[in-house]
Symmetry: C2
């Protein structure tokens, strides 16, 4: 299968590595010429969680410089960088018959990707921990799953292809539920770890952070109209436990001075709450708090 | 006038310096033997805002080791350290006829100090900026006023004595209003600057911090049942502007790993709000957030 991976961040590098390990013909599309050149020269090095590192000579190009047709396009850019990728998927003949797979946090993009001209569109959430070490080096910091679903259409070949032990892909009919579960966890873990500059495990061990986590959790649950509170809560604490030594992506963004995904996570919940006339003061507080941190010069 | 200043923190050292400068006979009572010895040996050095530093040879003792009667007892310990001072004022014959002057943030102590056996009791808020450099060195980081009032009784001599240009003391009939105004500003500035680890001026210049400040301001106003919104708001922004390069006492406490005054400030507001059945989610959030920061090992 010819695979195009778009995005040279932690998730893009990890997906490109895993798909190559599975024997696919992968090209990685990056935002900068520099990163594409570095990958063409040195390849990509992936340090798998609990295993040795592996090295992959890989094709790389600056997005959107696609030179040949792709069967599968794995989109690993952040939510706020999606617009140029969506425009590309609508216009380019090279990906007219491809299956796009979107791997973003948040749910803001679900309504727009349904409108794409491609007959099959997939989305999913990545539960693997990933840390970008350099333009060409990535580390899998935790072993999770890849929760996937068909946003529209269906394709058994690609489903069978992705159900590979390396990816640990789980297909779920209950798509929205899967994303909501992740969004719920993200709406708690990301802003708190970024605000307090702590590893994910701190939410379990610091009593007051746990109180704040529960305050955010209850708000997000009520907005998303979730039924099984205990299951959602167990999922949240499990992620905190499983990734306790990790620094969340939002914390890393704050530390690196790059924009966070606060709009796609808490911002999305606030919009949904407004539509339902639900007050979400704690979510609003962390929304503005992260925006404040983005502006505080480190 | 024989003055006992209790508390060797920034405000205690500043008050002891200013009162000595005014020609009073001051003894400073400290929590530790070490600080008392250091002051007996080296005196106290105060760097007045915009002026040269001055050096005062000063008597110092470990509290509550009072050796002679005092006319005025200036209590500069923090709200959560008040209980031993209150017990002392109730029991010691040395201060039976003294006038206690309480200079704490927050308003939690007002009801208990009214019960003291002394016939005249004063309280006030310090708007001078102060930074403790060492056990014996203090810096006045901003020139403010000392807003004072009689909690019970009245004494013209002490009022005349304190109305000295060095202290910049202002007596106000409207006592509760004065403390509320300060509490309101503290409830906004202290938790936000401590949470985001910024100087006070950041609340003016960072758009999102300003939004958070207004969220906390409106809650505190409604709990305290304040009428003149524009005046309170002007007071808040004036403090932020006048102390823009200062790190708030709460931020310093977090940085030093000492307990903050969050109970006396946001905790007091939350209790008052509960009694009135008013929701104060933003104040609750920062209350738990500061408690979380107190637990995060630096």
């Amino acid at each position: 299968m010819k695979v195009a991976v778009i995005g040279g961040g932690a998730i893009g590098l990890l997906m490109a590595s895993m798909l190559t390990e599975m024997g696919s013909n992968v090209t990685l599309y990056t935002r900068t010429e520099e990163q594409a050149n570095a990958i063409m020269k040195r390849g990509v090095k992936c340090h798998y969680f609990g295993k040795n590192e592996r090295y992959y000579p890989l094709h790389a190009r600056k997005f959107p410089d696609l030179k040949e047709e792709a069967d599968l396009v794995v989109i690993c850019v952040k939510q706020h960088q999606l617009s140029s990728v969506l425009a590309f998927l609508k216009q380019s003949a090279m990906v007219r018959h491809a299956i796009p797979l979107f791997l973003q946090n948040g749910m803001g993009h679900l309504s727009s990707i349904e409108q794409l001209p491609q007959s099959v569109v997939m989305a999913g959430v990545v539960e693997h921990g990933a840390l970008r070490i350099s333009e060409t080096d990535v580390q899998q910091t935790g072993k999770g799953a890849l929760r996937l679903f068909f946003v529209k259409g269906n394709n058994q070949d690609v489903q069978r292809y992705l159900q590979h032990p390396i990816l640990d892909a789980v297909f779920s009919e209950n798509a929205r539920h899967t994303m909501e579960e992740k969004l719920l966890a993200n709406a708690v873990i990301n802003p708190l770890t970024a605000l307090f500059e702590v590893e994910n495990g701190a939410l379990l061990h610091n009593e007051s952070l746990r109180t704040l986590a529960l305050m955010l959790f209850e708000e997000a649950r009520s907005v998303l109209n979730r039924s099984d509170r205990e299951k959602d809560l167990a999922y949240l604490w499990n992620i905190c436990e499983g990734t306790k030594r990790n620094r969340s992506s939002m914390l890393k963004d704050i530390e690196n001075g790059t924009p966070t995904e606060i709009e796609a996570i808490s911002g999305y919940l606030i919009k949904q709450a407004e539509a339902q006339n639900l007050p979400v003061p704690y979510t609003s507080f962390v929304y503005h708090a992260i925006k404040a941190k983005e502006l505080v010069i480190p």
